[in-house]
């Protein structure tokens, strides 16, 4: 197959690629060997360590952490969707009095580190919000601002003719937004919204700084408690996150392909490119 960077390989190139494959294999094998040797030298690869680490109470505690993570992420994503929709509608308003503050808020919350926001909310409104409230509020503010831009791109991606036709048959502005633009925009945005869930899930871990009991906090407590199993605990938690988030990413790709097959590919791409930078927090 000819690609952008390489022509179709001939016999010589194929032989060269075989050599590269072998070299890569050797390098990977070496790396794995070094890691395994290190780990076994420290005596952390034994079944005793495994059994000491994953006792019933530890596993229960980790599981409670996972529940805390999922709870915060679930509430945050729902709240962020609502806030995002409000901010996007305001941002698209015809009135500068509404449009400009919305824009300032969106830019502001996207530029402030989430940790900073959480610490501020936690200390300033401690009696009202508590750790859970601080985590969820910060996540809602940040992701709401990100999703607002996604919503805006989604609404802008709906063909001009759709709103023209809606106005043409006598609909009012609110009706056009609610009945014509939003339903189509949400479809285009679905992949971007699912990708945002991955970020929210990862970011709940920042609740660590305001003592919210989520998976990473509970994990660290167990990890430091069992000492020999530290790496084991962290690897397990990483695996849990990777499995959940990888599945979500695959789901987003699947939805994107489905929409592309139905002829909404260009719009979906346009929307997905909006939050490219914010998918890294």
């Amino acid at each position: 197959m000819s690609s952008l960077l390489f022509d179709v390989p001939g016999p010589k190139a194929r032989a060269r690629h075989r050599i590269y494959t072998v070299i890569t294999l050797v390098v990977i094998a070496l790396l794995v060997a070094i890691v395994v040797r290190k780990l076994s030298a420290e005596g952390v690869l034994t079944s005793t360590v495994f059994n000491d680490t994953f006792t019933n109470s530890n596993v229960t505690y980790l599981f409670e952490g996972l529940v805390g993570t999922l709870k915060a992420a679930g509430v945050a994503i729902l709240g962020a969707l609502v806030l995002g929709m409000i901010l996007a509608t305001a941002r698209l308003s015809d009135h500068a009095v509404v449009r400009i503050p919305a824009r300032v808020l969106i830019e502001l919350f996207r530029a402030i580190p989430l940790v900073l926001l959480m610490i501020f909310l936690f200390f300033t409104f401690r009696s009202v919000v508590g750790p859970f409230g601080a985590v969820v509020t910060a996540l809602i503010l940040y992701n709401g601002a990100v999703l607002a831009e996604v919503f805006r791109a989604g609404i802008n991606a709906v063909q001009q003719g759709q709103s023209d036709a809606a106005y043409g048959i006598g609909m009012r502005k609110g009706q056009v937004m609610r009945l014509i633009l939003m339903p189509q925009a949400v479809r285009f945005m679905l992949p971007a919204i699912i990708s945002q869930c991955v970020i929210v899930l990862k970011d709940t871990s920042l609740g660590y700084v305001v003592v919210y009991g989520e998976l990473v906090r509970h994990g660290r407590q167990v990890a430091l408690f069992v000492s020999d199993g530290t790496i084991l605990v962290y690897t397990t938690i990483a695996l849990v996150f990777i499995i959940i988030n990888y599945s979500l990413s695959k789901l987003a790709e699947f939805v994107e392909r489905r929409l592309a097959a139905r002829g909404s590919g260009a719009e979906v791409t346009k929307v997905s490119q909006v939050n490219v930078g914010d998918s890294q927090a």
Binding site: S2, S3, L4, L5, F6, D7, P9, A13, H17, Y20, T21, T24, L25, I28, K38, L39, E42, V44, L108, A111, I112, P113, L114, V115, L116, I119, F120, F123, T124, V198, K202, D203, S205, L206, Y208, V209, V216, G219, R220, A223, L224, T230, I231, Y234, I237, A238, F241, I242, N245, Y246, S249, V276, G277, D278, Q280, A281
Partner: protein, 222 residues
């Protein structure tokens, strides 16, 4: 307001450390990211697989967990380096962790740049007899780099904000100082928040401006 003036030296120290974190981890991310993208676009399936695995693992793991691995777990395996009292073990651990994390996103930014070039560009270059290195150096990479600038800027902005996570492993960067001041000065929490948020917004603005300038230069050259 007074609290910001009284502790001005401390605040500046915090942001200086934030910038050091950003600089060092940014350089690590740039080099490792470039290496990873070379793996990801290579014609050898195994190399592509290795690159993709790295991306999928790192991108789906919380940054904080990576930092805790460096803080709590790797010292037991002998990863326990420090440069001096200022760039201490916590700083090195945070820098390496941030660098490894951001590298995955640098790689994806560069890859999106390469993917944005139409295949016809390379085919035309090969058709007029350019060699592989000529095609790369004169046709593909200049265009790819220009197309990568916007996502790269986003990546470095995200990295600048992510340096704040280092407070959780005891690096005395800006957010660490902010937490301390917030704790000690109950009456001035709004001012402290506004001051520190302003500092981060300034950093983000500088990176964004550098990106705009680079893009404009690229546009002229093209």
């Amino acid at each position: 307001m007074q609290v910001l003036i009284d502790n001005f030296g401390q605040i500046v120290d915090g942001f200086v450390k934030t910038l050091w974190l950003l600089l060092f981890s940014g350089v690590i991310a740039a080099f490792l990211g470039t290496f990873l993208v070379a793996l990801r676009v290579s014609p050898v399936a195994l190399m592509r697989g290795a690159g993709t695995s790295y991306i999928n693992v790192v991108r789906n793991t919380p940054l904080l967990l990576i930092l805790f691995l460096f803080r709590d777990a790797f010292p037991k395996l002998g990863f326990n380096y420090s440069i001096d009292n200022y760039f201490n073990f916590f700083f090195v651990a945070a820098t390496v962790g941030l660098g490894l994390y951001a590298a995955a996103f640098v790689c994806e930014a560069l890859r999106s740049g390469i993917n944005s070039i139409p295949v016809g560009q390379a085919e035309a270059a090969r058709a007029i007899g350019m060699t592989f290195s000529q095609t790369m150096a004169q046709i593909i990479l200049p265009q790819a780099f220009r197309a990568s600038i916007p996502p790269l800027v986003s990546t470095y902005i995200a990295l600048a904000k992510n340096t704040s996570v280092a407070l959780a492993i005891g690096v005395t960067e800006a957010t660490f100082i902010m937490k301390k001041l917030t704790n000690d000065n109950a009456g001035d929490r709004w001012w402290i928040f506004v001051g520190f948020a302003g500092g981060y917004i300034l950093i983000v603005w500088v990176i964004a401006t550098i990106g705009t300038l680079l893009e404009r230069r690229g546009a002229r050259a093209g």
